[in-house]
Symmetry: C2
Subunit: 324 residues, 2 copies
């Protein structure tokens, strides 16, 4: 592999000149610059980014911690983050926490050692205290911790829209399957908004809690089955993800309940699957492209010392398909 | 942030001693080792992995290039790769090629500059020639290039099993929707196996080609719609992914075709969605956990100069669900 010395020798300039061209520092004539670039190309010279990082004290790496990209929501979020990280010149270090606090803790330590420039936290099992020592550019997803900036959809409004939709369609026994409410997530506001609307309509909410983030198919099946065993007259269900909604669909079609005649369903997220499964899922759309873009921008602005807003809440939208 | 000098001073040892403890080199008494570790903890000292990489000439980074993790197959593959990379002590640099040759080329250049220890190539838009200059530990997925090791499922057998299933169920007009056959992918063998079996049964194959890797919903919808317009008597469909199979399901339920009575469907991959959508998709299961694990092992063994097999082909399995 060609070294910076080889380039300097072949181009007939000093190593300092090559270094200046690479780092865009000091005065270099256009002619010399061109000569150096041509020589680098000729020799297939690749500057060593590790050495450059050390000099610049910047790694151009962003760490992204998510439970797991095989979950459609996090897969689609990661897709957007990767896209904008690339646009801004960052590389993405992908870390799956699997919602295991130990793995999350180890990953944060690893990121510190690798001097990542910033961390996007889409996973939240650690205690709030453990975040205190992180003096990095950080963005959290769907969770408010200290003064860290966060991105989230308007969860409260999402819960309201879902309840209004089901009430408006004449549902009278409406259930809601939500995530683990002991985690301090902004997504819990979906449940708040839902309960408010159900209460205003003079009905009682049926709330089932689950550890939604864990992509455990058997667990999903069991919860849905329990719901209809305990409340056989349920005629409307609002789930906190589209994947969970698909389990409700599967249970209904398997047990002879017609959708939407007998049971109406509203999901959350609007992942691609909501459109391609049958029947298509009516859902609350989170604007993932805008949220992922903002997450990268918030890291970039922190790195550059720009002022940012802490709360970055994005409007949701009711997408009507065949389950209502 | 504490430096190695701070640690040495506080622990009452030399910087060389701290460095030896960190790099596990030279003789250090157990007592000194413990003292250094305690001091590092006390001062929240984080060794600078960038500097260490430069010394060791090893970055502990593996680059993973996939079209896009929001595609369920690549999301689940990435999940496994991340898991085993972590087990082996590597960090994962995630790169989405979006099947754009320019982006793929740029990413490969970036990986060289960052001195990744190896590259897992799950994306294949570049010309074979452009791989020649990569003298890195490399593993390709579903493609054979030069002498690079590759992982793949037994695509030929997969195509045969799918055809046998549909023939056995009495289908007489069987279509196959495959990927872009101008890309030199081992997945093309699915089509070969399928056509062989259909020929042996004395029938004619209907083959539709598409750029399957692009996750373009409108394109999927159009292809399926065209299939049933051109061949309204099709009673069996083998698709080269489960997501494509879900589009066939959606088209059939929307146009009054019963599944499996009127149209039987076999997918490929066995991604999680194949089980959770309704009806559940009969499919050819690729053993993704074993394939992803092997991909990481193949990188690890190359780094350590161990002997490896070039061909790593994994058996497939027919998973019977409700679409047949």
């Amino acid at each position: 592999m060609a070294t910076i010395n080889d380039v300097a020798e072949k181009a007939g300039v000093s190593v300092t000149t090559v270094s200046r061209v690479l780092n865009n520092r000091g005065y270099i004539s256009e002619k010399t610059r061109r000569k150096v670039y041509e020589t680098m190309e000729e020799l297939h010279y690749q500057p060593n980014e590790i050495a450059r990082s050390l000099l610049r004290k910047q790694s151009n790496l962003i760490g992204l911690i998510v439970p797991n990209v095989s979950h459609p929501f996090f897969g689609e979020f990661t897709d957007v983050v990767e896209h904008y990280a690339y646009e801004y010149g960052y590389k993405l270090l992908l870390c799956h926490s699997q919602l295991d606090p130990n793995k999350e803790r180890e990953y944060i330590g690893m990121m510190k050692r690798h001097r990542v420039d910033g961390i996007i936290m889409g996973s939240h099992t650690l205690e709030v205290d453990e975040y205190r020592e992180l003096n990095y550019p950080i963005v959290t997803v769907d969770r408010r911790i200290h003064q860290f900036p966060y991105v989230a959809s308007d969860n409260l409004q999402g819960g309201r829209l879902a309840a209004q939709m089901l009430i408006g369609k004449g549902c009278r026994r409406i259930a809601h399957i939500c995530g683990n409410r002991s985690l301090d997530m902004l997504a819990n506001l979906r449940t708040t908004g839902f309960k408010e609307e159900i209460g205003l309509a003079g009905m009682e909410s049926i709330i089932l809690e689950t550890n939604m983030d864990v992509f455990n198919q058997d667990e999903y099946r069991r919860i849905v089955s329990d719901l209809f065993t305990e409340y056989p007259d349920v005629d409307g269900v609002f789930t906190t993800s589209d994947i969970m909604a698909s389990y409700v669909i599967k249970h209904c079609t398997g047990s002879g309940r017609r959708i939407p005649e007998d049971v109406r369903i509203v999901g959350y997220d609007d992942v691609a699957a909501a459109a391609w499964i049958s029947p298509g899922i009516t859902t609350i759309k989170q604007p993932l492209p805008a949220m992922g873009k903002r997450a990268v921008e918030l890291i970039h602005k922190q790195i550059n010392g720009e002022t940012i807003e802490q709360a970055n809440i994005f409007p949701v939208e009711l997408i009507i398909r065949e389950t209502t």
